[in-house]
């Protein structure tokens, strides 16, 4: 645990030592703000909740999170520091989890900086702050899910562009798996697959959180999802570290 946190701290400091952190946070806040206020009709709806905010956030994450994760392992390989990191007395699992946690904490910081939205709805009306809190928990989990996919893709290839594209593609598949277009098509043609993809969809699970429902099932879903990709990440690092 100590090793994991040491790695997490170093990684996190690394984000803020380069312009990566600033650029990411600024773009995230601008994009999220523009989408919520303009496309989401935040004011015109006349409702004191953050639904427009939560509707767009998975899609913003879909675009931005692979940009964070693409460098996670690819950069270590490019600099050769992967050889240094993995010859320290730590297990590969510790390195994988440490890096993932740093990226997750970083996303949590970006997410926390959206606090003016919460203040705004509280000034304008009387929102259910419990629902907002569970929505934020959902955001954090969806960020974790996308991060775990992106981190594994970064370990799978040396090329950062390929890591980015693969991560976006895989996250997209998990995001739209329950979308009517996909679902209707599958239900008509392969009914068994339809039910299966509905269960796998990240957005549906996220929807529960934005309605204020925190179910054990959804928590287990996200836990399993992240756990699976981190495991895959460890295997990939082990197999490809020296390539």
């Amino acid at each position: 645990m100590r090793n994991i946190l040491t790695i997490t701290r170093r990684e996190l400091a690394g984000y803020f030592a380069t312009p990566v952190a600033t650029v990411f946070i600024v773009i995230f806040l601008v994009l999220q703000g523009a989408l919520t206020f303009n496309l989401g009709n935040f004011f015109e709806r006349g409702q004191a909740d953050l639904n427009p905010f939560f509707t767009f956030i998975p899609w913003v994450f879909l675009l931005l999170i692979p940009a964070i994760t693409m460098r996670l392992w690819a950069e270590e390989r490019r600099l050769g520091t992967i050889e240094l990191l993995l010859t320290l007395p730590i297990t590969q699992g510790q390195a994988v989890v440490g890096k993932f946690l740093a990226a997750w904490v970083f996303c949590a910081i970006a997410l926390a900086l959206t606090f003016p939205f919460v203040i705004a709805v509280n000034i304008l009306g009387q929102p259910d702050n419990g629902v907002i809190a569970s929505g934020y928990l959902g955001c954090l989990l969806i960020a974790g899910a996308f991060l775990s996919v992106g981190a594994a893709m970064s370990a799978a290839t040396r090329n950062q562009v390929i890591a980015f594209v693969l991560a976006v593609a895989i996250c997209f598949i998990f995001a739209v798996a329950s979308h009517p277009i996909v679902n209707d098509f599958l239900s008509k043609n392969v009914p068994a697959m339809g039910a299966f993809t509905r269960r796998l969809a990240v957005i549906d699970r996220f929807g529960d959180f934005t309605r204020g429902i925190i179910s054990v099932r959804d928590l287990i879903y996200f836990g399993t999802f992240i756990g699976f990709w981190l495991f895959l990440n460890t295997v990939l690092v082990d197999q490809r570290k020296a390539d």
Binding site: T6, A17, E83, L88
Partner: protein
């Protein structure tokens, strides 16, 4: 009688090799980078690992550090197998990877503090270790500078400081003097000489004068195979000219 038995018991761990490599082989597809390499290194030995570029020096060292998975064979450090008991093996190993990679945006001192923390030090001991490593490699003056702003020689010394931090019984240094100026080379050699009596040290190099200067033993590797394993004196005697250069050339050309 009793005392002599005690002596031999006390000597026994000294006698056991700290590095044990047996039949180590690494293939990339059909290309064999390291072919059945076997050797031991005992405490007090400084082993010079020589060979032309691409002979398999770095690959062997990477397998010894547990970074590369061997196709066949085993390697152990102080009795810990580098694959099955990797964390324990890496604990007693100081490793300088090829090119001395470091995180460019980190300051020298914070980088060393990170390494020390991962190695399990904390509080005053951590500060002392980092201090000592900075002094040994004469990095004190640049300790607050980001590594990316340093020259090649300084970067190499940061890598070296990282390897020496925990005073490990086994040191594996891949080209420790590459990119250093003559003064710095001299300092690093002196440092190695000073540490030599109570450590097992492997250094790879293609600077032959270095072997004469610091190594007690030399292994020449060519095309992944060990072609010579002797003291520098013995190697020199193999060629009428008595020069290591000529011996090296004849040994590695034969294999090619």
């Amino acid at each position: 009688m009793a005392s002599s038995q005690q002596d031999s018991a006390a000597n026994a761990p000294e006698q056991a090799p700290l590095i044990r490599i047996e039949g180590l082989t690494k293939r990339f597809g059909s290309f064999t980078a390291v072919d059945n390499v076997t050797f031991n290194v005992r405490r007090g030995e400084v082993l010079g690992f020589l060979g032309p570029n691409g002979a398999g020096k770095s690959t062997t060292m990477r397998m010894l550090a547990g970074f590369m998975i061997p196709t066949a064979g085993t390697a152990s450090i102080q009795g810990h197998d580098v694959q099955s008991d990797g964390v324990a093996a890496r604990k007693v190993l100081g490793f300088l990877p090829e090119g001395a990679p470091t995180y460019p945006e980190m300051a020298v001192e914070s980088f060393l503090r990170f390494c020390a923390k991962v190695r399990g030090f904390s509080g005053k001991e951590l500060a002392d270790r980092v201090d000592h490593a900075l002094n040994m490699t004469t990095l004190r003056g640049v300790r607050l500078q980001p590594v990316e702003t340093l020259s090649k020689g300084f970067k190499r010394r940061v890598g070296l400081a990282q390897a020496l931090l925990h005073d490990p019984p086994v040191l594996v240094l891949d080209e420790p003097t590459d990119g250093l100026d003559p003064n710095q080379k001299h300092e690093v050699r002196q440092l190695i000489e000073r540490m030599a009596p109570d450590k097992a040290i492997v250094i790879s190099t293609h600077i032959l004068e270095e072997v004469d200067a610091v190594c007690t033993r030399a292994i020449v590797i060519a095309r992944g195979r060990v072609v010579a394993d002797a003291t520098p004196r013995e190697l020199e005697a193999q060629h009428p000219s008595g020069k290591l250069d000529d011996v090296f050339r004849s040994l590695t050309r034969d294999a090619a």
